[in-house]
Symmetry: C2
Subunit: 346 residues, 2 copies
DNA sequence: TTGAAAGCGCTAACAT
DNA sequence: ATGTTAGCGCTTTCAA
């Protein structure tokens, strides 16, 4: 019992396949009587008709497939949220997402082959997602294609891109600390030269300045953005007599290191030390004690935004090409758990 | 410059499209001279020819798409590894993976609509992955389709399924502890009625028995499989005078709770207390101090196995249908980090 | 050993 | 307002 085709529907409705096609696709500039429309729809429903996408694709030269090229899907839950956002948006537009995982390339040949693999599969457009916010060389065969960059930017400014608002996220985090009453706020930064490092530092400075809090440069430490180095730097900073009453950490892993440092030094979180992280990695943030107040990266939203933009691009909406000029920033909201309170002596 | 078609290749090679098709597909029972074959291949290469998958699909009634229906892609990195394994295996066979995320259904109507969505997209077969090992009701429209279950089993035994070898994983974990010299080994189990709970407990008992170590039932505690309850149970067990020298934890989150309990009680890990977890959630296991020795779930392997099996099913290899009889078990290997050593007084 | 031609299910230009 | 028909790019039957 193979599934019904358009001619079965036509036959049952007593009309031609053309009419069925027109009705079911709401083809513009065609006039079909309400009565006929109803009959056609009824017939389609009765037969459980769904169009054969392959035939449709062949005919229209549109596969309805969009490729998502993502780095390191498996290593972080972040990719999962991008996929989810893209997925849901794609479904809204009746598009199908094809995901391809790829390594992070170091040898500079970018992802030409992965793009080609997607092209061979007849995708209509491509989403390119990196694992962390940075600038990437554009695969050469991506140019000329409808494409959107997720969590990365293209120096040429030819492809629209969406990235997290790093500065805004840091502002939210540090503002939260300031509003709790803290004035001695340390910052445990990453030491890589990536946008997040600079953006979060900028946000940190910005808030202190805005509140007239003098910036003590010795309260700003940096290290690789892992738990262990974070622990090390946190110990140094927290062992000082004039230790900060709050710590803003570059990411949740470093915050996890800070938790350990605090515990070893007998500092109670949040009463002796308030902490805010970044990334909202549930597995860490929700399982620390107390739960880590942190800033979420808008992965879901970036995935969804990217697909929406792609749809506009596919429709040829000229204005959306202008988006390529500068990356679109998406909000990084604060997620409040239990690691922040007012400083003890206030 | 639209991409080359089969007739362009035929023209350039000076042969018919039939011959091109035969050569490029290595169609059996067709005899084409070596010389011609070479000419055709050369022409295809020159033109950068790749077949139009949509036309191919339409003609052969095989889309080359396989659907992966996965629960909660975004919440755990586990799904990522399944996807990766499935992805890579799919690529080997020139198949394209289409992923659909879905909620875990509670209202019992299983995932009928999600399966339908995949079917509407002309997938040739379906993979159904659950977030954790359990028995699931089969979506009714999945029957009759080539399908494989990942991390779950079907009570009817009509669809092949692949699941982790829970017992084997627990055996590996506890054996590791025994071989390090431990005889008082506690078990912090989950309290849900799921296969993992029973399997891991069975493995634990099995190893102790095999080594002639008497089982002290008071050393077996259970709670919800989260960090906080794990912490609570661990504190109780570790506060005892005859506390165990080692703890096998149902999962890494509970182990994380045990770490905290140990720290609060002044017990050094691994010297005063050895710990083994389960799940190998990198974010936790690699970031605890010392690193958590744990057991990995074979997500990648299950994804790959599922696709391989699907390919056989698609080829109609009868023997593979027999696989449905009982789920295939895949190894859960021990991942050694730093949380196990010999007991202090041994 | 190779080629001609039908036809997969659909859309759209053109006819009526 | 609705119908006829060509053809998207390919595979495959059948013929040469």
């Amino acid at each position: 019992m193979k599934s019904a085709g358009i001619r079965d529907v036509a036959e049952l409705a007593g009309v031609s396949v053309t009419t069925v096609s027109h009705v079911l696709n709401d083809t513009p500039h065609t006039r079909v009587s309400e009565e006929t429309r109803a009959r056609v729809r009824q017939a389609a429903k009765t037969l459980g008709y769904g169009p054969n996408r392959m035939a449709q694709a062949l005919r229209t030269n549109r596969s309805g497939l969009i490729g998502l090229l993502s780095e390191e899907i498996a290593t972080t839950p972040h990719a999962g949220r991008i996929i989810l956002g893209a997925q849901n948006a794609a479904r809204e537009h009746d598009l199908t997402l094809v995901i391809v995982n790829t390594e992070r390339e170091s040898n500079g040949n970018s992802h030409r082959d992965d793009v080609q693999a997607l092209l061979d599969r007849q995708v209509d457009a491509i989403l390119y997602a990196t694992m962390y916010h940075r600038q990437v060389p554009l695969p050469p065969n991506l140019k000329g294609l409808p494409a959107v960059l997720i969590d990365s930017t293209d120096q040429a400014g030819v492809v629209p891109a969406v990235v997290p608002d790093e500065v805004g996220g840091a502002v939210a985090a540090v503002t939260h600390l300031v509003e709790a009453g803290h004035t001695r706020i340390g910052f445990l930064n990453n030491d890589d030269d990536v946008p997040a490092t600079h953006g979060r530092l900028a946000g940190y400075r910005q808030v202190l300045q805005a509140h007239g809090i003098p910036i003590d440069e010795t309260l700003i430490a940096s290290s690789p953005s892992e738990t262990l180095p974070g622990y090390g730097r946190a110990r140094e900073v927290l062992a000082r007599d004039d230790r900060p009453t709050a710590l803003f950490c570059y990411n949740d892993r470093m915050a996890m290191g800070a938790y350990r440092a605090a515990m070893e030094l007998g500092l109670n979180i949040p009463h002796d030390l308030s902490i805010v992280g970044f990334d909202n990695q549930e597995l860490i943030a929700a399982n620390l004690f107390p739960g880590l107040t942190t800033v979420a990266l808008p992965h879901y939203e970036m995935g969804a935004w990217a697909v929406e933009t792609l749809v506009h691009l596919l429709h040829g909406d000229a204005q959306y090409k202008l988006l390529a000029d500068k990356p679109t920033l998406l909000d990084c909201p604060l997620i409040v758990r239990g690691s922040v309170t007012k400083p003890r002596d206030n």
